[in-house]
């Protein structure tokens, strides 16, 4: 099975997991509504006292990055993430390391760097007692990396040319729109899936080599790119929560 086929199957599998989660998240909300035997008493809406006080922090790691590092010879990396709640808004920080080494038809390309993303997610299931999340959000991403390519180019008019080009110090910035789920699995353990639509890539330090792979962003083959993360998380509440 080629890596590309594996990637497609894996993506579809992850999509099934997430859509299953979407359904369950929606069902959970409705179940709560139907099992109430008396008309619901809404909480008073004339106060925001205490609403924006964080109730816990989550830390996690990206399983896809770990899996790709293990099974894909072209990628080595990891990503960790943390978020903290302010009512229905979550401040999210993600940090990772990303290195690639692609064998080309006529040479090799490699990149190596670190990146971070910071942003806010808005939870649309904020009344869920389990604190499950379906969210939309945004991120600002920044990456510092180096990359290089060594290849042979053939022309009919001249002798073959051997090229070695590198960008020793590149800074990339971009913006993301995100959506996904974070679902409580057991006690402190959570699973989360985040899909990313990335755009607005700006490269500072690209010289005679146009970067093909930007750590944290992905392939620089167009004006936009997509991304997907599947996190396992641990939530640490700031105080004991009612069961």
């Amino acid at each position: 099975m080629s890596p590309r086929t594996f990637a497609c199957i894996f993506s579809a599998w992850c999509a099934c997991l997430v859509t299953e989660g979407l359904s369950q998240a929606a069902d959970t909300v409705v179940l709560e509504a139907d099992t109430v035997s008396t008309p619901r008493v809404r909480p008073p809406r004339d106060t925001t006292e205490g609403r924006f006080i964080p109730t816990g922090v989550r830390f996690g790691a990206d399983l896809i990055a770990i899996g790709k590092s293990r099974f894909n010879d072209e990628f080595t990396g990891w990503e960790i993430a943390a978020d903290i709640d302010f009512y229905r808004y979550f401040l999210v920080v993600e940090y990772g390391k990303w290195a690639t080494n692609y064998p080309l038809r006529n040479g090799d390309y490699s990149s190596d760097g670190t990146y971070f993303r910071i942003g806010v997610d808005v939870n649309f299931l904020f009344r869920d007692p389990e604190k499950n999340m379906f969210f939309l959000g945004g991120r600002f991403g920044r990456s510092s990396y180096s990359d290089e390519a060594a290849y042979v180019h053939h022309t009919t008019e001249f002798l073959d040319n051997n090229f070695y080009v590198q960008n020793p110090d590149v800074v990339a910035t971009w913006v993301e729109l995100t959506t996904g789920l974070k679902v409580k699995i057991w006690k402190f353990f959570w699973l989360g899936a985040t899909a990313r639509f990335k755009f607005g890539l700006d490269l500072d330090g690209n010289g005679l080599l146009r970067s093909y792979d930007v750590p944290g962003f992905g392939r620089n083959i167009g004006s936009t790119y997509w991304g997907f993360n599947y996190y396992v998380l641990v939530r640490i509440p700031f105080k004991a929560e009612p069961k």
């Binding site: 590309r4 990637a7 497609c8 993506s11 579809a12 992850c14 999509a15 997430v18 859509t19 979407l22 998240a25 929606a26 069902d27 909300v29 409705v30 179940l31 509504a33 139907d34 035997s37 008309p39 692609y102 064998p103 080309l104 038809r105 006529n106 040479g107 390309y109 379906f134 939309l136 390519a149 290849y151 180019h153 022309t155 008019e157 001249f158 002798l159 040319n161 090229f163 080009v165 959506t179 996904g180 899909a195 639509f197 005679l208 080599l209 146009r210 093909y212 392939r219 083959i221 790119y225 997509w226 997907f228």
Partner: protein, 185 residues
């Protein structure tokens, strides 16, 4: 289970669905709000994004060309000119065209291993040179397509034609560029 009163009315806006799984009590009915169609729409958009992952490789659309395309024009009326060249050659190297060839356009190859190329044009008993300089940018199209040098920022470094006789019209050497230079006689 929805009973009377407000729940009976609310049930009209609900659609019954079935769920498998041991966590749900047997016989318990579950309902999904039709207003949650936003969730389903979000799921659909998400699936489309994920599905696009299968097409991120793209095709091997190689657009680079190491050829400078020169149009020959009359200086007086700016119309295309047909010039009989005794020889067209790279300085100190091979002839690019057979001797005594009549041409309306020239195609001058550049060496991606260099950043400057000089050409000697002999015509009508005269001999003129043009030296072009350019930058080689490397692009990786994909692992299967490979990497390619693209020549950009083409400029006339030196010429005996006269500065107003050589005009750069496109600084990038690409396959879909019909003309890079206008050369007036």
């Amino acid at each position: 289970m929805p009973g009377g009163g407000p729940f009976a009315k609310r049930g009209a806006n609900l659609r019954k669905i079935s769920l498998d799984g041991s966590r749900w009590a047997a016989g318990q009915k579950l309902y999904l709000r039709t207003k949650n169609s936003e969730l389903r729409l979000a799921g659909l958009i998400f699936l489309m994004i994920v599905a696009s992952s299968c097409f991120d490789e793209g095709d091997c659309l190689v657009t680079n060309s190491n050829l400078i395309r020169v149009s020959l024009l009359n200086f007086s009326d700016k119309k295309p000119a047909k010039i009989l060249f005794t020889s067209v050659s790279i300085q100190g190297e091979t002839l690019l065209y057979p001797p005594n060839t009549e041409l309306t356009t020239l195609v001058l190859p550049v060496d991606p291993g260099r950043t400057e190329m000089e050409y000697v044009l002999e015509y009508q008993g005269k001999s003129d040179t043009i030296r072009f300089s350019y930058d080689n940018f490397s692009f990786v199209l994909s692992p299967t397509c490979g990497a390619f040098p693209y020549q950009q920022n083409l400029v006339v470094a030196e010429t005996t034609f006269g500065e107003d006789k050589v005009v750069i019209t496109d600084k990038s050497l690409l396959r879909n560029v019909a003309e890079n230079v206008r050369l007036y006689f």
